[in-house]
């Protein structure tokens, strides 16, 4: 049967290496045993981190909801530290390791270079993560995720981060080695697939990021044992060179997954390889300056430095995201049209497989990331506008729309395909899996929007008590803030429910899930996403008669959508300048 992934004429290898492969009956991907096991191990630990982070999320959420105010101050800051680290670092990065293995091994039809090294890396990362968690939960690292010097954690905390980072760096090395193996063994013809190209971009950014990480944490570790001095402002700059670049890894990985899921679910096509690849290259080129937008109201840097660097050199990374924001939905639209879904401007939206959690996750990820995360991010990262935003709840309101509703949502969508493809199981609790993306993204959307609202009133982030009951003076926020944060909490609880369902579904599927046969798959057994039941067939040149050729091009629906996006962007952006103009004169 022909599928999107067909590689006609691939020679089967008969040697020992060849026996390690299993050809996936669905996609024709050839899966290398060691790669499969490494993907599984990393995905499992990622899920454990998600569970720890998720329980922490509920606890801090119920504390910030002033009507409940669950935890005491010590626990609050401790659990907040655990939430940030477990989610942003451990969950996200372990999952990315799995994605890297997937993008270089199966997608390139090759074996993983040095699988034993993979287990060493995995061990190192897990050990590092365990050390860090142990330090946090035993109260020896109440410094929050950013651990701004001179706040001081136990030296083992910093050491744990270093071990984790070294492991991740070695996985990147292994990824590049695998690319070299694939090239040498000619496992693929032509150029790298776009998804793998995106993963290469992510891996290069990861290397840059991890080098910044070394520059931050090695001196900090030495400082913690009394061997050297570190300037607090320099620390902030280096930490964010790590902290922000790592967000660019997430964006590159997420966009690659968008392309991947588009292809798997509805056979979306790459409109133009040049444009999409150039956009990935822009991410690589302009990333190391991104640290600046965390330092816009810091004393250590001049305004010209801030302007040049925050704009990532005139917003070239923003340009890249805006390009992907067009090409991904346009690829979905054109893909659908090529497959005969040609009605009107938005017939491809109406007829899309909304019951496929892989597809709904993909779309929700694009929409919330773009409309909420992207627009707010560029706006609040503007030098002057940051004055009315810095360290208020508008900041976590923004990044829960990017890394959570965007990246984590994309990861979840991918999981619904990895379970059958890699773990060879049906997705358990299929009905729940179908609503899970809507719960998670819907809840997160409410959470982010209302968190941002609260931030607009000046409500600080990372704060245990905004009634200031233990402060020397009386002070109260506008009563509207109570309602706003109540709604925020409800949204967060719904999202947490969605996250909990995801964990339940994946753990159950992987450990107790049913295996399935090829016949079952083809008759559409419950528990298999439609992209596997009816894999989109590869399109031919003749299919292109289905494409419209009007003023708005091949993807008129997407063109309308991106223009709406731009209008929303401009409105929000200039509204914020207006808001800024009302505050005290400052210079």
């Amino acid at each position: 049967m022909a599928t999107v992934l067909d590689r006609p004429g691939q020679p089967e290898r008969a040697d020992a290496v060849g026996r390690l492969f299993r050809t996936c009956s669905v996609t024709g991907l050839r899966l290398h045993g060691p790669a499969e096991r490494l993907i599984k191990a990393n995905a499992v630990v990622a899920t454990v981190a998600l569970l720890i982070g998720g329980i922490s999320a509920i606890l801090i959420l119920l504390t910030r909801w002033q009507a409940v105010h669950l935890l005491g101050p010590v626990q609050f800051y401790r659990v907040l530290t655990a939430h940030g680290i477990s989610m942003l670092i451990f969950f996200i990065i372990f999952f990315e390791m799995a994605v890297l293995y997937f993008a270089c091994g199966p997608l390139l039809n090759t074996r993983i270079a040095a699988p034993k090294l993979g287990w060493f890396n995995f061990g190192l990362m897990t050990l590092g993560a365990a050390l860090v968690e142990a330090m946090i939960w035993t109260g020896r690292a109440d410094v929050l995720m950013t651990s701004y010097i001179p706040l001081r954690a136990h030296p083992l905390y910093y050491l744990g981060i270093i071990l984790f980072a070294v492991g991740a760096l070695l996985v990147c090395a292994q990824f590049f080695a695998t690319l070299a193996v694939a090239k040498r063994e000619r496992s693929y013809e032509g150029s790298l697939p776009l998804v793998t190209f995106g993963a290469v971009a992510a891996a290069i950014i990861a290397v840059i990021t991890l080098l910044h990480g070394a520059a931050t944490y090695i001196p900090t570790f030495l400082w913690s044992i009394g061997l050297m001095n570190v300037d607090p402002q320099v620390y902030r700059m280096l930490w964010w060179a790590l902290g922000h670049s790592s967000q660019q890894i997430n964006v590159a990985a997420m966009v690659s997954i968008w392309y991947l899921l588009g292809g798997l679910t509805v056979g979306s096509v790459v409109l133009n390889e040049k444009i999409s690849r150039t956009a990935f290259v822009l991410y690589i080129l302009f990333i190391s300056m991104a640290s600046a937008h965390h330092l816009l109201v810091d004393p250590g840097f001049s305004s010209s430095w801030k302007v040049v660097n925050t704009s990532y050199f005139m917003y070239m990374a923003v340009l890249a995201s805006m390009l992907h924001g067009f090409t991904v939905p346009a690829g979905i639209e054109v893909g659908q049209r090529l497959h005969g879904v040609t009605q009107g401007l938005f017939g491809w939206v109406k007829r899309a497989p909304w019951g496929d959690p892989g597809f709904s996750s993909l779309v929700l990820s694009i929409v919330v990331f773009g409309f909420v995360g992207g627009i707010t991010g560029v706006t609040i990262g503007t030098e002057q506008i940051n004055i009315v935003v810095h360290n208020t709840l508008r900041v976590p309101g923004h990044f829960h729309a990017t890394v959570v509703s965007g990246t984590a949502m994309a990861f979840m969508g991918l999981t619904y395909y990895l379970i059958p493809l890699i773990f060879q199981r049906k997705v358990a609790f299929w009905r729940l899996a179908q609503v899970q993306p809507y719960l998670f993204a819907g809840g997160m959307l409410v959470f982010c929007v209302f968190m941002s609202f609260a931030g607009g009133f000046g409500v600080p982030r990372r704060h245990w008590d905004i009634t200031f009951s233990q402060a020397p003076f009386e002070q109260a926020f506008d009563p509207a803030v109570d309602a706003v944060m109540g709604i925020m909490a409800l949204g967060g609880l719904v999202a947490a429910l969605g996250g909990g369902l995801y964990i339940l579904i994946t753990v159950w599927s992987v450990f107790f899930g049913q295996r399935f046969t090829d016949e079952e798959r083809l008759c559409g057994a419950k528990g298999l996403p439609q992209g596997l039941v009816r894999p989109p067939r590869p399109v031919t040149v003749e299919d292109e008669v289905n494409l419209p050729n009007g003023k708005l091009g091949h993807a008129p629906g997407t063109m309308v959508l991106v223009l709406i996006f731009l209008a929303a962007f401009a409105l929000y952006y200039f509204a914020n300048w207006k808001l800024l103009s009302f505050v005290w004169k400052i210079g």
């Binding site: 032509g190 607090p232 402002q233 340009l319 390009l323 200031f468 402060a471 590869p538 210079g587």
Partner: protein, 199 residues
């Protein structure tokens, strides 16, 4: 139209993929690029025409020296005390020194509406966050760095200073105060009170 059929992002493109983009992609590229230039231009423009910029007078300072400067400032212009914290009323247009420390803002400031001051911010120990309530103006306060910002209070009344950077276990107790009086030194409440009396 290309001769190779279109493909998904999962397969290796064969042959030459460095092809010209479709017209719509080029149009979107142009629009997006133009928008990025607008985003970029707004920042220098606001420095030139706008009233709120984080530029400031910035220099490194020894935390002990800064603390001594604040003490001097308090001694020079202290006019009272509030909850044990000195209230300081500096002359119009002068330099004002505020110290962030675990876990209080020191001292309480008394300023005049419509007058420009240079507000210096620094910390004695760890990072703090200066967040003026309810105006919602926020700056990072970093030990070892003096951030001198020219400010003009535009309304009279009581303002809080929330600490919005985590600074240890007492972070949420760290609340300071700025009192802004009318040009004649009266408080907004007093003025309305006397106005009703007259009527």
């Amino acid at each position: 139209m290309s001769k190779e059929p279109m493909h998904t992002a999962l397969v290796s493109p064969k042959g030459r993929w460095w092809e010209r983009a479709h017209a719509t992609e080029k149009v979107w590229f142009g629009i997006a690029f133009g928008w990025c230039m607008v985003l970029f231009a707004m920042m220098p423009l606001w420095h030139w025409k706008g009233g709120q910029n984080p530029s400031g007078i910035r220099r490194k300072v020894d935390p002990a020296a800064y603390e001594a400067r604040v003490q001097q400032f308090v001694q020079d212009y202290k006019v009272g005390e509030l909850k044990g914290i000195p209230v300081v009323e500096p002359p119009a247009g002068s330099d004002v020194y505020l110290l962030g420390r675990m876990w209080s803002w020191y001292p309480v400031l008394k300023l005049k509406k419509g007058v420009q001051y240079t507000l210096h911010l620094s910390s004695k120990d760890v990072n703090h966050g200066f967040s003026l309530f309810p105006v919602n103006v926020n700056f990072q306060v970093v030990p070892g760095y003096d951030y001198g910002l020219k400010i003009v209070p535009s309304e009279a009344g009581d303002f809080g200073i929330i600490c919005n950077e985590f600074c240890g276990i007492g972070h949420h107790m760290m609340l300071g105060k700025v009192i802004v009086t009318n040009e004649d030194g009266s408080m907004p409440g007093e003025k309305t009170a006397s106005a009703t009396e007259v009527r």
